[in-house]
């Protein structure tokens, strides 16, 4: 007995794990009755169905031939995710003037073809200015331009 489809196996395992999570964290939800459904009725029924599909997928992975998972690309995924998270972390303390160039440069690292030259730097500056002008000044998105660390260092009117 050996695994014939890794894709089926892993997606099945994932479904089972997620379903178990929904069941566990929903264990205290009131079920109610069929005519007066409580908050737990629909999600818990769905979670059991998901569990069923997960088990089916795992069983099928031993029976039906499938493809391998193929190459994962942990690098671009990790870099893009890190860039977005960094942007979120830097936004309040430092503001867009720092967070946005960081977001652009870190995301660019996800591509092996990115070149770091004067032209690239100009693009980063241009895009940052564009976003500040269009989104913050133009559309009024309340993102700080200079964050809280700049309090007192720059005029308060520059910060928003």
């Amino acid at each position: 007995m050996s695994v014939r489809s890794w894709k089926d196996l892993w997606s099945g395992v994932l479904y089972v794990a997620l379903a178990a999570g929904f069941l566990w964290f929903g264990r205290d939800f009131r079920m109610g009755t069929a005519s007066r459904m409580g908050p737990g009725y629909f999600p818990l029924v769905l979670a059991w169905v998901l569990l069923g599909f997960g088990v089916l997928s795992v069983v099928r992975s031993f029976l039906v031939e499938g493809e391998g998972i193929g190459g994962m690309a942990p690098k671009p995924l990790a870099i893009i995710t890190a860039a977005v998270v960094l942007f979120g972390l830097l936004l309040t303390p430092l503001g867009l003037v720092v967070a946005m160039p960081v977001l652009i440069v870190v995301s660019a690292m996800a591509s092996s073809q990115s070149v770091y030259d004067v032209k690239g730097a100009l693009i980063v500056i241009g895009l940052t200015l564009f976003c500040i002008l269009v989104f913050v000044k133009g559309l009024g998105v309340p993102m700080p331009i200079f964050g809280s660390w700049f309090d007192g260092l720059v005029p308060a009117t520059w910060q928003r």
Partner: protein
């Protein structure tokens, strides 16, 4: 005549300078993102959603709709010129379109693509105007049981028409439904799966999920297959098709429009399936089938008319029932709700200018695309040559700002990143994100309708099969599901998605 009055109202609404301007902006942006690979209509509309808050509702809808069908046009341009379909719905267009371009007939292929799309757009505008009112009328009679069954049918149909494993599609739908339930339960006020985080009390934002899975997820997928795109394009000349081209393209355009219109109404159908189906159909019925794959004009006209028809007809369930048949329509519903309009069959009566204005704007938008795109070919071609390494950081930036501006919440930025990861992992396992997104938007609605139906029936589940409309829809869903599990059908379904 009522139809005439309605269309008149629509054109009067759509022809105001403001609405014309935004229709133009919409189709222009749509074409641009259609040309650029790696940026689809879902991510673009999600990004632009916050910018529409300040607009009048009809203007916002007109622009967002323009982006959607504009993308179908743009996608075919790159498919023909450089064999790079900008959208999945133009994948088959590349087969014969690119061959025509190599033979120096790029101009004629582009013109036929644009004209057949325009034809399909015109027919569909009329079809929507004809069929939407009776459908909305019928839908007004729907009770909660009918709505619940309709959603079941919609979700099942989206599996049948989706690409890939049925089991995985089912799993993704259920997972989407579950994720949609996160937040405060509307009828009891109970917190579900919020882990005491106030940010989750209102549920996970639909845009957050869409941007994570479609925006960021697609970037990562593109970077994986990063290759230097060597784009060398010959000068496009001879835009006007010959009489022979017209003659050969007429039949395929008619058949493509018909097929696209039918498939477009079905949930989960829409543009992509329509184009594949139309191409396959032409290969069976055409007199020139030996030329297919070698630059047959029929192979451009059929999928192009079909994908445009499919894209436009998918507005019907959205406008008349308030049910999204694809992720783009789900975003349109989100846009309506943000504007304070409750989607559903009453929209047509209560928001008549919006309803008819949107329909009329589609015809105007198609006209703009036709007039604009052929002369602007040179500009789109230059756009294709922008290297992806310059584009994707900008897309990440727009995603981050867009998702923040919905609720002015940094939390949403982190959640978008999380859904980017989830989307990527599932995609690697052949679990498509589209069914999850459909389930996500339908989850809370389904629960409410199920609750109400069961309350009215005093807990007797037979209500779903004793009410005729509801029973019909469930029966259809069952038939579809059985069909799709039959080995013979499975084979054809697989083939329909396989490129030649």
């Amino acid at each position: 005549m009522e139809l005439f009055d309605n269309l008149l109202l629509g054109f009067a609404t759509a022809m105001t300078p403001l609405n014309l301007l935004y229709a133009l902006i919409g189709v222009f942006l749509g074409t641009a993102i259609g040309v650029l690979p790696g940026l689809g209509p879902v991510a673009t509309i999600a990004m632009l959603l916050p910018a529409t808050f300040a607009m009048p509702p009809v203007t916002a809808m007109i622009m967002l709709a323009g982006i959607f069908y504009g993308a179908q046009y743009g996608g075919s341009t790159t498919a023909i010129l450089v064999n790079l379909p900008g959208e999945t719905s133009s994948v088959v267009t590349a087969l014969d379109g690119y061959q025509m371009a190599r033979q120096g007939k790029a101009g004629r292929a582009l013109a036929v693509a644009a004209l057949s799309s325009f034809f399909a757009g015109t027919v569909c505008t009329l079809l929507i105007a004809l069929f939407a009112p009776p459908l909305a009328e019928l839908a007004l009679k729907f009770g909660p049981a009918e709505y619940f069954s309709l959603m079941v049918l919609g979700l099942v149909a989206s599996i049948v028409l989706a690409n890939g494993s049925i089991l995985h599609a089912l799993g993704m739908i259920i997972l989407g439904l579950l994720l949609g339930l996160v937040g405060t339960d509307v009828s009891s006020g109970a917190q579900r799966y919020t882990f005491n985080m106030p940010e989750l009390a209102d549920g996970i934002g639909f845009v957050v999920v869409a941007m994570g899975m479609f925006g960021l997820g697609e970037i990562v997928a593109n970077l994986e297959h990063e290759a230097t795109r060597d784009v060398s394009i010959k000068k496009v000349e001879g835009l006007w098709p010959t009489r022979e081209d017209f003659r050969r393209a007429t039949g395929p355009t008619l058949r493509g429009t018909l097929l696209g219109s039918i498939l477009g109404i079905l949930p989960g159908g829409g543009a992509t399936l329509a184009s594949f189906g139309a191409y396959a159909l032409e290969k069976k019925v055409s007199k020139n089938r030996h030329e297919f794959g070698k630059g047959a004009i029929e192979g451009v006209a059929a999928p192009e008319s079909a994908n445009n028809a499919g894209a436009q007809m998918s507005f019907i369930p959205m406008l008349t029932l308030g049910i999204p048949s694809n992720p783009v329509m789900a975003l349109m519903i989100g846009a309506m709700i943000i504007q304070g309009i409750q989607p559903g069959p009453s929209v047509m009566k209560e928001q008549a200018p919006l309803f008819w204005g949107l329909i009329a704007s589609m015809w105007i938008g198609n006209m703009m695309l036709l007039v604009l795109n052929l002369p602007l070919i040179g500009m789109w071609v230059r756009m294709i040559t922008i290297p992806y390494r310059y584009l994707f950081p900008a897309i990440v930036v727009f995603c981050a700002i867009g998702v923040f501006s919905l609720n002015n919440s940094i939390f949403d930025i982190y959640f978008m990143a999380l859904f980017g990861v989830i989307g990527y992992v599932f995609k690697k396992l052949d679990c498509e994100p589209a069914p999850l997104l459909l389930g996500f938007i339908l989850g809370p609605m389904m629960e409410e309708f199920l609750r109400r139906a069961m309350l009215l029936a005093k807990g007797d589940p037979s209500v779903f099969v004793t009410r005729p409309i509801s029973a019909t829809m469930l029966a259809l869903a069952a038939v579809l599901l059985t069909l799709v599990l039959l080995p013979a059908f499975k084979k054809t379904r697989g083939e329909a998605f396989v490129e030649e």
